[in-house]
């Protein structure tokens, strides 16, 4: 009689064990199928998105090559996630051969690379899935989030006509406020442009009326968001015409932030008479935080 209880217990435990093993087997099998399918799903989605993006890079490349001084930017709305997880996109070019678009997700861990031929230089850049911009700023192709400044001009200073001795030339300044700059948090009082390399007289012929536009690009799209031209209250040309200080009342742009770009376009500038590359340094609010750039004039 005592054996009967044992046999019942044994039978019960054995039954439990068998069921557990069977269910575990089912879990493992289903889990593997799901993992495999998710990976495959993510890979196939990334491949499609990569190719869509490659088409956009090619489009921008084509637009960049279509004419002189071309600039192009294209906004692409990609899904925010693939197979339920977010992903990153990297546009890379190591100098030789075609460029590569690498799309990566962490969970499942999948990486897909799509090649793209390019005729214009590509700068290595990254973006997250979702809405992003493929831009060509006149020198290279870049991708980035919509507000990343992909479209902003990288050149600190440039002249519209690069012929030596040209007069009445338009000069454009793009001063991007760097993190840690003393200008941050204080009103913008001045922008000082100082041309070195022999101090050529570039600004003697300019006046406040030559300002084409002055403003701040706060979202990095290369366009002025806040116009501060009306805040200009002084115009000082010193050092024989090689330094220009544009004074501002300080009431229009009171809270500069890192990443903002002060854009100033002035007409009536005279190019240096002799061809060459000239150093130009620019500071804001006289804070001594100079940024250095160059302009090059050709014969």
């Amino acid at each position: 009689m005592a054996d009967r209880g044992v046999s019942t217990a044994l039978g019960y435990v054995l039954g439990l064990a068998i069921i557990t093993v069977m269910i575990s087997g089912l879990f493992v099998a289903t889990g593997e199928i799901v993992t495999d399918e998710r990976e495959e799903a993510a890979r196939s989605e990334l491949r499609v998105l990569g190719n869509r993006l490659a088409a956009d890079v090619t489009t921008v490349d084509r637009l960049a090559l279509s004419a002189g001084d071309a600039q192009a930017s294209l906004t692409r709305d990609l899904p925010e996630t693939v197979a339920g997880s977010s992903y990153r996109i990297a546009l890379e070019h190591d100098g030789g051969g075609p460029a590569a678009i690498e799309l990566t997700t962490d969970d499942p861990e999948v990486s897909v690379t799509v090649s793209v031929m390019n005729g214009t230089p590509i700068v290595n850049s990254t973006a997250n899935g979702g809405e992003l911009v493929v831009g060509y700023d006149g020198s290279d192709i870049e991708i980035g989030p919509v507000t990343s400044g992909v479209l902003a001009d990288d050149d600190l200073v440039q002249v519209r006509d690069d012929t030596a001795g040209a007069t009445n030339v338009e000069m454009e300044v793009n001063f991007r406020i760097e993190p840690g700059s003393p200008t941050i948090g204080n009103s913008l009082n001045s922008v000082e442009i100082d041309v070195g390399s022999g101090s050529p007289d570039m600004f003697s012929g300019t006046g406040q009326s030559d300002v084409v536009e002055m403003g701040v690009d706060t979202d990095g799209d290369g366009r002025i968001d806040d116009d501060i031209e009306s805040d200009i209250d002084s115009w000082d040309v010193t050092d024989g015409g090689s330094t220009l200080t544009v004074g501002l009342g300080g009431s229009a742009y009171t809270n500069p932030q890192a990443g903002d770009t002060v854009i100033l376009t002035v007409d009536g500038v005279d190019n240096p008479a002799s061809p060459g590359t000239y150093d130009v340094r620019i500071q804001t609010s006289g804070d001594g935080n100079w940024q250095n750039g160059t302009i090059t004039v050709d014969p």
Partner: protein
């Protein structure tokens, strides 16, 4: 739960029997939910794969290029039409071209705007030039005063639509090796760093009209291009002879930023023509019409004559949709081979 305490007959209570499949039930549910989630995941794949079947050019990249091409064609046509008229001054010509470009911009701007596209053309500059031509096909290539060797234009940096149509019967006979000693007509393009000569003559041996290009600095002659028939159309800037491509004529890039165009030996020592026919060219020097004076008649119709012309138009084109922003600087100088 089974009673395993021993002592007495152990029988599971009947109400426990209903609980025994709990584990299976829960496991089945979990697996079912997992499969549903998988189905949803695969659904997103269908959506993404669906993207692949759509056009990749949603932003309008093709249309923007089309707009740029259309603007180039239109501006080229405007310039060509303005140049065709006998213009009194560059000022009048510039005004005409500017008004026409503005009219085109406004008309296309409205039409694109109906599709939500913003387009614009902004004129950056017109480059003055001079159009020189001879339309009397029986005339020699001498200047207005009858001078045999003469300069059409000096200090030019660009030439476009330079076409010569020579009458076969009038051309001097020669061969590739005796071009210099025979009195053969040639155009000389003399730059600071290089000089090129384009000889047009009748080849004695092959009975064809030949064009030989010689590098005047090194003296090396390129393989001649030839054509038959009563007339030979030589397009110096497009690099064609008789409508066929002539690689020997691609030398424009060597000439640099300042060169002179000279017609040489347009008649023999005794005054017989070495070439008759028509020619046409536009150079980017607006002063030619006035400065040599005696070389050209005041025209039109009185060959050879020179008119003020627009050599090139430079403008910025902008094309913007909700997703695409594109701007380009364009220079239109139809038929130009060098900048």
């Amino acid at each position: 739960m089974a009673d395993v305490s021993g002592g007495g007959r152990s029988v599971s209570p009947p109400e426990d029997a209903a609980d025994r499949a709990q584990l299976l039930l829960v496991a089945g549910l979990v697996i079912a939910v997992t499969l549903v989630v998988l189905a949803l995941t695969l659904n997103t794949v269908i959506y993404t794969e669906n993207l692949a079947t759509r056009s990749s050019d949603v932003a309008g990249g093709d249309d923007s290029i089309r707009f740029l091409d259309a603007s180039e064609d239109a501006v080229a046509e405007i310039v060509a039409r303005a140049n065709r008229d006998h213009n009194e001054s560059h000022a009048a010509l510039r005004a005409n071209v500017s008004v026409d470009v503005d009219a085109w911009r406004n008309a296309t701007g409205r039409s694109y705007a109906t599709n939500g596209v913003v387009t614009n053309l902004s004129n950056r500059g017109l480059i003055n030039g001079t159009r020189m031509l001879q339309t009397d096909g029986s005339r020699k290539f001498t200047d207005a005063a009858g001078t045999s060797t003469w300069t059409l234009a000096d200090d030019v940096s660009g030439t476009r639509q330079f076409r010569i149509n020579a009458t076969n019967a009038s051309l001097a006979n020669s061969t590739q090796t005796t071009l210099e000693s025979d009195e053969v007509f040639y155009v000389q393009l003399n730059g600071a760093s290089a000089a090129w000569e384009v000889y047009v003559y009748k080849d004695l041996l092959a009975s064809t009209i030949n064009v030989t290009v010689k590098n005047a600095t090194s003296g090396v002659k390129r393989t001649p291009c030839s054509t038959g028939g009563d007339y030979a159309a030589v397009n110096v800037t497009a690099g064609t002879v008789g409508g066929e491509s002539c690689p020997a004529l691609s030398f424009a890039s060597d000439l640099g930023s300042s060169y002179a165009i000279t017609y040489n030996d347009t008649e023999t020592g005794v005054g017989d023509p070495t070439i008759t026919g028509t020619y046409h060219l536009i150079v980017d020097d607006g002063s030619v019409a006035r400065s040599p004076g005696a070389s050209f008649n005041d025209g039109p119709g009185n060959s050879p004559w020179a008119d003020p012309a627009i050599y090139a138009v430079e403008y910025d084109a902008v094309y913007e949709t909700g997703r695409l922003r594109y701007s380009a600087s364009v220079r239109v100088a139809p038929g130009e081979t060098n900048g």
